[in-house]
């Protein structure tokens, strides 16, 4: 676009016109003036050509020489030259002056249509550009003077119109104006803004936001590098920042710390991109003060920590009294304090059992609290699920044997390892096995299967136990839900085990559900983990 205008000599006109900007001419007046000037100029060119004998069609070497003496070749006289050559050629063609000129003029119009449109499109909307283009073409054609005007005049009218359009566009959208707009935005922005040269790293321009944030005045900063002012608190950050900028041409929301003039630090989000100003590659950077946000984040983290502390302290306090309860009832039961009669034994057993429940409950309440507040921290490593299940099954074997249950694990060869928290996954399997054993009558069986389905590992814990009714299946994984049945009452759990399992599996991006054909028909707990 620039070259196009330079080619047409418009840049010179533009800079000439821009001088007028110093005076408080309004833009419209300036535009009209400039167009008049151009028109007059062209009219003089026309007159010159006419007087040179050009109009009388003596298109020979003498005329040409005469004209070139009169009109030195320049962008402004280009139309005349073009016209001259067109006439020369047309006379060579021998089609007759008038017909040929008309034809060629209309050819110029055809060529002008995309040209005008494209130029307009650079700065105007599609609709307006089209309108101007149509006016530019139709205007001169429909002009009645076409029939009265001499041919050369008609030709000029086209150029005048084109130049009119171009100049007005230029005036409306001159660089100065956009520079002004940029400058206004630059200085009024509430953020730190600075322009630095890429070549020597010196600061070219800063805005008020910069002075406000860092404490350096404009005069103190311009001409110095950021290193001289030691603005970057962390030199590593600076290196990363400039490498990224070099690599991608821009950096967005880079979090770093800057040093103020008084030495205090300020946290900022820094963004930058390379721009070209007066043919020099520069960096335009914008930084936003996020100290407050940072402080708020810190506060939130602190609150989080407090909450964590509170949770662990609470469980600690809840469990402390359980230590003597458990141990003393064990000592009583072992006969360390003398033999107990049957009733006493049962009473102490009850104390012991309930102590155990309370212990499990406090552990699981903490777990649930962690899961509910997304604070469940997984220690991820490559784990062999098959090994984890084997261990869990071995742990639960004694419990199963007490009830004469067959407890088997059917694995697959070469289980692919996946990312997971071994201890937590083990807890899930133990929980599921515990449930299965609890709710399966004596001499039943519990089967654990591991399968690989596509990109997932599926674990089935299948029992021949009391099964589940349809209405209970949906509620099973909600905290504190307990199936209301005689067996369930007998083995009263915490009602949190499955909710914990669900939380752990979901933290692994897996799924857990239960299938049952109905009450008394056993149930199968299934969980799947993506292989990662």
């Amino acid at each position: 676009m620039y070259y196009g205008w330079r080619f047409l000599g418009l840049n010179k006109i533009k800079s000439f016109l821009l001088k007028f900007k110093k005076y408080s001419f309004n833009r419209e007046a300036l535009m009209v003036l400039s167009c008049l000037a151009i028109f007059c100029g062209l009219f003089f060119v026309y007159l010159a050509i006419r007087n040179s004998g050009f109009y009388s069609m003596q298109v020979d070497e003498t005329t040409y020489r005469k004209m070139s003496q009169l009109l030195p070749f320049s962008a402004a006289t280009l139309p005349s030259y073009v016209y001259f050559w067109v006439y020369r050629l047309s006379s060579v063609c021998g089609n007759g002056f008038l017909g040929c000129a008309r034809l060629l003029n209309s050819l110029f119009f055809v060529l002008a249509v995309p040209f005008i449109y494209l130029v307009c499109r650079q700065v105007l909307s599609r609709k307006t550009s089209l309108l101007i283009t149509v006016l530019a073409v139709i205007g001169p054609i429909n002009n009645m003077t076409i029939y009265f005007m001499p041919e050369s005049m008609y030709f000029f009218s086209f150029w005048v119109f084109t130049w009119f359009v171009l100049t007005s566009l230029l005036m409306y959208n001159n660089l100065q104006e956009s520079e002004e707009k940029f400058s206004a935005a630059f200085h009024a922005a509430p953020y730190l803004m600075a322009i630095t040269s890429i070549v020597d790293g010196k600061i070219i321009e800063v805005n008020e936001g910069y002075s406000k944030l860092l404490g350096y005045s404009r005069a103190e900063s311009v001409g110095k590098t950021t290193a001289e002012l030691s603005i970057w608190a962390n030199m590593e950050d600076r290196t990363t920042f400039s490498t990224n900028l070099e690599k991608f041409g821009e950096v967005i929301n880079f979090e770093t710390t800057l040093r103020r003039k008084d030495g205090t630090m300020v946290s900022v989000l820094d963004s930058a991109r390379t721009i070209i100003i007066k043919k020099v590659k520069c960096i335009l950077s914008i930084a936003q003060d996020i100290t407050e946000r940072k402080q708020a984040e810190e506060k939130l983290k602190e609150l989080d920590r407090l909450k964590d502390d509170f949770l662990s302290t609470t469980t600690h306090e809840l469990k402390t009294p359980l230590v003597p309860i458990k141990s003393q009832s064990q000592l009583l039961l072992a006969g360390d304090y003398g033999d107990l009669n049957q009733q006493q034994k049962e009473a102490v057993e009850m104390i012991y059992r309930n102590g155990e429940t309370l212990n499990a409950l406090s552990t699981e309440v903490l777990e649930i609290a962690k899961i509910k507040s997304n604070r469940l921290k997984l220690i991820l490593e490559r784990v062999d699920l098959s090994k984890i299940i084997t261990e869990a099954v071995n742990d639960m074997k004694s419990l199963a044997e007490k009830k004469q249950l067959a407890c088997v694990f059917l694995s697959i060869p070469k289980t692919p390892k996946t990312l997971g928290d071994a201890a937590k996954l083990r807890q899930v399997v133990v929980n599921l096995l515990d449930n299965a054993i609890k709710f399966t009558p004596e001499k039943g069986k519990v089967v654990v299967r591991l399968k690989k389905v596509k990109n997932e590992l599926k674990v089935f814990v299948e029992d021949s136990g009391i099964g589940l009714s349809k209405s209970n299946i949906g509620k099973l994984f909600t905290p504190f839900f307990q199936v209301d049945s005689d067996v369930a009452r007998k083995y009263r759990g915490t009602g949190l085990g499955l909710a914990v399992c669900k939380g752990i599996i979901e933290a692994h991006q897996g799924k857990i559900w239960v299938e049952s054909k109905g009450e008394g028909k056993g149930s199968t707990f299934v969980f799947c983990l993506p292989i990662k």
């Binding site: 302290t313 402390t320 003597p324 141990s327 072992a334 102590g355 212990n359 903490l366 220690i379």
Partner: protein, 126 residues
Amino acid sequence: MTKGATKIKILHVDDEADTLGVVKTILEKEGYEVVSVLNGSRALKAVNLNGFSLILLDIMMPDMSGWDLFTRIAKIKPTYKVVFLSILEISEEKMKELKKAGVKDYIKKPFDRDDLIKRVKKALKS
């Protein structure tokens, strides 16, 4: 324990008197001599005075945490065997770290009587 032989001395540090009592009862039944102290500073004094074969440490205590106490004891008597006895849940990673630092075991409260005896014996043997 053969009669007449000097009893193996165990130091137990916990801020809960009831817990101290229970552990004392259980371990003394097994023939150990248990010295129970209620806080870290007293524990340090006791460590300086007597030759203990094993130290049982609680973690969450008001004056000095079990971790701090462990590092201090390790400085004074690096040969002492230390077993943590606490309610705090620790991750397997942390456990590995502790083993590297020289901690013999980590028993979780509320403990099982037989389990406690078994693990104390194991720690003493190591």
